[in-house]
């Protein structure tokens, strides 16, 4: 067996009393691309930070090129040849591509001034060697997200890196851009680099990686070449259960026929046929379709965020005040797709976030009784299984899944009749997903009508009682019961269109 480029040996890392990594073993070999899988909080990012010197191990050690190494910081590991492309890019928009790539390592003239010619030439050479066609003098501001990532990768590879770590590289990329990235990864593998690839997307892992290492609770639960895994076996190693178990059984009492929401001739956008449909008490209705097919726009129109002509009836009564405030008052709540921008008060406590929209409290109330928020939040925490040590902690300290649970719990404080959820499990790990599905099913069981927008087909198929597939802003087809399959949804969503299925990722 050849020697590993980079390895973790019996590695442990504790944060106070919490053991995040526990005697973990990990290896990357020359020419390999190892997928690092695990739920949020399993210890993936901690492992990467220890490997690249951002954190020091509590016990055990990092081995690089067969030698035990004790990094003083990310500088040292980078100089040694370990490059990391972080999830949040570190490109600087105000600087040019060349300035970004060589930031801090600019070639200097004898006078100690920046040698611009050499700067651009070196950046160009590096970009060419990676087959990236970008002009080095261009400002990074004017680049697309994918191009910025290419710059980021070029920057990571400016010194002769032997190991490249990519943390969720495709989270922001379209299908075409992902293809380009994969070509690049193939090229780097062929050159004999070792890659570590962190991703939630199983399809991609099977497409691009040579090996898979699954970690759970700080230990490796499965490890081997890609060929020895299936989708299901990866997921079960991550969560200890099969994919099918994630969804609670669907509703049996196919509603009592009561229309909670009725939409009549609602015009969402000019040139698009008006929408007419209904959501019944106790059912989970799915809106499926490609990204850009008009699902979010329809939801916002119903919610009154972008009201258009047409009638929206809630419990048989037309909504008069077509605005978010009017909708909330009537009992129609919406969870937006970007929880950080539109949902959370990131610096405030979990408790404050939870009670922020509680009627008669929060913004409307000058004096919140002492301890009130905490008591309510504690009750919420237990009921929804939010994992947090103390509800006084800022909500930014929680994982994405737990943040989402707090937001859903907050919606329910207002006793809604209808809940619209836009991508309720985006950026949420598998374990929290299952819990969110359980919560939603419980809600439906209690008689709330639920409208879910989702780009994850497996979620639509596993969760929804009834599905509308949207295409070009139109409700193209209704699917019920056994008709709801991934194939049927794709067939309708992608019909009469040559566009790639960019928004459809299998769970």
């Amino acid at each position: 067996m050849t020697q590993a480029l980079l390895a973790a040996r019996d590695l442990s890392k504790n944060f106070g009393p919490n053991a995040v990594l526990r005697g973990l073993e990990f290896e990357v070999h020359e020419g390999a691309c190892v997928a690092l899988c695990g739920e949020n909080g399993a210890g993936k990012s901690t492992l990467i930070k220890v490997l690249s010197g951002l954190l020091a191990p509590s016990s055990g050690h990092v081995e690089y090129l067969g030698e035990k190494r004790d990094w003083s910081g990310p500088r040292e590991s980078l100089d040694a040849g370990i490059a990391v492309v972080h999830q949040e890019f570190s490109t600087i928009g105000a600087l040019s591509i060349a300035e970004n790539i060589l930031l801090g390592a600019e070639p200097l003239t004898r006078l100690g001034l920046i040698d611009r010619k050499a700067l651009n030439a070196r950046a160009k050479a590096l970009l060419d060697s990676l087959d990236i066609a970008l002009p080095p003098k261009k400002l990074v501001d004017s680049l697309s997200v994918a191009e910025k990532q290419m710059v980021e990768i070029a920057k990571a590879l400016r010194s002769d890196a032997r190991v490249l770590i990519l943390d969720e590289p495709t989270a922001v990329l379209s299908q075409n851009e992902t293809t380009h990235l994969f070509r690049l990864i193939g090229e780097l593998k062929a050159r004999g680099m070792g890659l570590i690839y962190v991703s939630h997307r199983l399809d991609e892992i099977f497409q691009v990686c040579t090996d898979i290492t699954v970690i759970k609770d700080g230990v490796v639960t499965a490890n081997g070449p890609v060929s020895s895994f299936t989708h299901d076996s990866v997921v079960s190693a991550m969560v200890g259960r099969e994919l099918g178990d994630m969804f609670p059984p669907k509703g049996t009492n196919s509603a009592n026929g009561e229309h909670v929401l009725e939409v009549r001739d609602l015009v969402v956008a000019p040139g698009v046929p008006p929408a007419t449909f209904h959501v019944d008490a106790g059912e989970i209705l799915g809106l499926a379709g490609l990204v850009g097919s008009g699902r979010t726009e329809l939801a916002r129109a119903i919610y009154g965020a972008d009201p258009g002509p047409g009638t929206v009836l809630l419990m048989g009564e037309p909504l008069v005040r077509r605005s978010p405030a009017g909708s909330i008052e009537a009992g129609l709540m919406m969870l937006t797709e970007s929880r950080k921008d539109d949902g959370l008060f990131l610096e405030s406590s979990v408790a404050r976030n939870f009670t922020a929209t509680t009627p008669g409290l929060g913004a409307h109330h000058a004096n919140i009784p002492p301890g009130f928020e905490e008591r309510r939040a504690l009750a919420m925490k237990d009921r929804f299984g939010v994992v947090v040590d103390h509800v006084g902690l800022p909500i930014s300290a929680l994982s994405g899944g737990n943040q989402q649970k707090v937001l859903i719990a907050r919606l329910l404080e207002n006793r809604p009749k209808l809940v619209i959820l836009d991508e309720p499990t985006r950026g949420v790990d598998v374990g929290a997903k299952a819990e969110i599905y359980r919560i939603l099913r419980q809600l439906a069981h209690d008689g709330v009508a639920i409208l879910v927008i989702s780009s994850e087909l497996i979620e639509v198929v596993g969760l929804c009682d009834r599905v509308y597939v949207m295409r070009h802003g139109e409700l193209a087809r209704e699917l019920t019961g056994a008709e709801i399959t991934e194939e049927a949804i794709i067939a309708v969503a992608a019909a009469e269109t040559a566009r790639t299925t960019g928004g459809l990722h299998h769970g």
Binding site: P74, R75, L78, H86, E88, F89, S90, T91, I92, G93, A94, L95, S96, E99, L103, G104, E106, L108, G112, L113, I114, R116, K137, K155
Partner: protein, 313 residues
Amino acid sequence: MVDIIRATRAGPVHLVVLALIMLVFAVGVYTSDRFATPLNLAGVQDQMVALALVALAQTIVILSGGIDLSFAGALSTLCVVFAMIAGDDPQTLVMGVAAVLALGASIGLVNGAITVYLGIHPFIVTLGTSTILSGTALLLTRQPTGSVPVFFEDFLYERLGPMPYGMIFVLSLYLLVGAMLWKTRFGTRIYAVGDNEAAAEISGVPVRQTKIAVYVLSGLLAAVAAVYMTGRFGVGDPRAGVGFDLRSITPVIVGGTLLAGGRGGVLGTFLAVVLLALLGNVLNFVNVPSAYQWIVEGLIIIAAVSFFARRAR
């Protein structure tokens, strides 16, 4: 060509400011025979020097993502200290210059260190130092005091052709700082830190040192401004700096540098200083009371910012 545009960070903004300068100049020529005379134009330039120097300092600080409000107090104290030391002969003058440069750098060091190591917003830190230094100046003297050597005062009133020496000095400093921003690692780091501090940190930019250096540079430039101002007055005025805190920001903003940091440059600031000085002069010629001049300046600030805001969208 592309490089020159990038190096000067020139953009449509500068054309707008340039057009306004020409417009104001034309109005000046139209309204008065005395406007376009060498004497009047030299006077306009003399008016610019002090503001140009502190605005240059402010530009660097704002580019790095910070702000320096300490000029009001700093200039007052620096002027008084300089006049108290500069005395009547070359020797004391040199001592005075050295003393205020050291004092200016120290003020910057304190501003930078508190901002960086205590993590307090520079707005608050520099407001605090400014207030302390305003008090210090008044403790040192209630009335304008001290002196500068007569030859130094005379020197500052002389000019080379149509251009006062002070203005030549300002031009060279702007060129020097412009070159620093474009041609040194320090310059690149200022933009990197101002644009995205977290990204700069990950990329290995010494963020803290860069920020502290920026405030030290700002303090040094304030000291230079104080030497000039005191030289022109002939005495050290304990209220010399009043108003310079906010006035130093105006040309930076009007010149297209973003208050958020990372975007802009010294060319815009220079053009804006010229515009504001000419505007004040022309408004004087058409007998507009100074009250209205304030109002016009305020309108220009808001117009400039709205212009950039719309462009950014």
